[in-house]
Assembly symmetry: C2
Amino acid sequence: MTDQMNCITLAARPQGAPKDSDFKLEMRDIPTPGDGEVLVRVHYMSLDPYMRGRMDDAKSYAEPVPIGGIMEGGGVGEVIASNHPQFSTGDMVFGMFGWTTHGVQHGTMLRKLPDGMPITTALGVLGMPGFTGWYGLTEIGKPKEGETLVVAAATGPVGSMVGQIAKSRGLRTVAIAGGAEKCKLATATFGFDAAIDHRAFDDARSLRKAIAEAAPDGIDIYFENVGGKVFEAVLPLMNRFGRIPVCGMISGYNTGALGGTAGEGPDKFPVFWRTLLVKHLLAQGFIISNHWDRFAEFVGEVAPLVASGKIAYLEDIAEGLDNAPGAFMGLLEGRNVGKQIVKLI
Amino acid sequence: MTDQMNCITLAARPQGAPKDSDFKLEMRDIPTPGDGEVLVRVHYMSLDPYMRGRMDDAKSYAEPVPIGGIMEGGGVGEVIASNHPQFSTGDMVFGMFGWTTHGVQHGTMLRKLPDGMPITTALGVLGMPGFTGWYGLTEIGKPKEGETLVVAAATGPVGSMVGQIAKSRGLRTVAIAGGAEKCKLATATFGFDAAIDHRAFDDARSLRKAIAEAAPDGIDIYFENVGGKVFEAVLPLMNRFGRIPVCGMISGYNTGALGGTAGEGPDKFPVFWRTLLVKHLLAQGFIISNHWDRFAEFVGEVAPLVASGKIAYLEDIAEGLDNAPGAFMGLLEGRNVGKQIVKLI
């Protein structure tokens, strides 16, 4: 009998927010690695908002997960069999194994983890989310000393990277977060100059007033990772020549009509277009998977800062694959605190 | 008795499209130039879509014209008195004199016209509109050989510059214009590879189909200068990593609710935001008056191309200041063919 692994498959396409019955815990045969392939025992897997988009059958920047297919995602683990010359049993690697205890990938699709850092960092602060924040802020946001930055989901792995890199470059940083606890973390742990609890405001107008008080010189960079009410609140506060990196938006992931990747934004498109024009704003979307050529540069710059404690990070670790769906639903509702990870071993 | 000049003032703020009674032809004393100032007899004045925005009392990138104030605008004319050392009687200059036969400006606000070119070119192909097209295309659009460009109002002074510069850099160029005559001009005079009459299509969807046929490889640059139906048609056809310079939009100038500077665009903001994200689009607004530091470079590059006939231009010249309001209303409706100018002398 072939050895078995556990995995979670997509049982049904969610209508709105995913529910338990959209996922299925299954046992399957552990695949045998072919030529050039590597078999990995996954120790930790990542949960990220983009996965909600993969559950819909809508045209997006990536293929949807098929019904019955293993949920997509990244993980870190140990090589337990290798047919690739660059990997040996015992190596710790990152790969897109999916929501599964074991996975096979071609060696060219794997990344060896650096020594000396906790392996979970490869899923958050030194992985895709941290890289997303670093790339979007530096390449599109182009931060300049003395400017003001606003970022939402500010205690998450993207937002906290954005805030800390901006702060280190001499910007005033304003966090938007959900709840008093996260606001406290934003200032105490991640060094934001101010933090605003968006849940304390019913509408964009009152939220805007609070943001305006926290950003008395206006906003030069709005790092857009949530959409919705926050963006509507922020737009009129943007300074001339402001920049808006747009990296995917959690607030719209559950709205099926949009294919799961857009927030609500301002009431009307023309309001946005006019603001873009009269204030010379730049808005640019980016999907981080097109920029892996910059990843080594990111790690080279940021890993020492993480190692020395100059860049802080938080992880929220769920236990066991069977808890992954619940943790994922919590993530979409903002119930996690820090990078959401699932421990598998 | 002081000598008199004719001018056109703003009599009332328009509700929607301007009408005759919103303007008033007046005689006023010719102002006396003070220290450092220069008095100019205006020969030709420019009419441009942005002037519609100045007629509204809405917050924009420039102050509105006050009721009873002279309508704003640029013109070219002859110096008839100078208290500035760099200008002498007889010099031909460009300045923001307004809708008037005579104007006084400080010498620092005037630009001497180059020899050897018709002076009207300083209002169009070698003036603000041509510069707008050149700057937006090259600085924001960043055209690359083999790409496809779409521009609306393609026979106007901005659109025709955009199309010709793009063509000279090896792009496929697609014109959107209003009416068969302008479409013919777009291809025959301005060298567009294809031209589409937007009036032949009732809705964005059918217009989109026509644009898709003219741009079989998709659109890499959409130079946005009209907004409305055209942008809605274009958006889904944008290629990944496409660029959208946004330079002011004629289709929205008459909609008072928007302050006169925005088109309609896609049905919903989230559709735009999602497209921006998943296709890595860049959208950037610009107001050309912030970029005069690049004007000399523009003239240096483009004036020889105009002189040699490699860049064509069209002018639509109305006769007499009293015809300026009618010509301006025609401009907003697209009735002009080429750069709209008023001859004053």
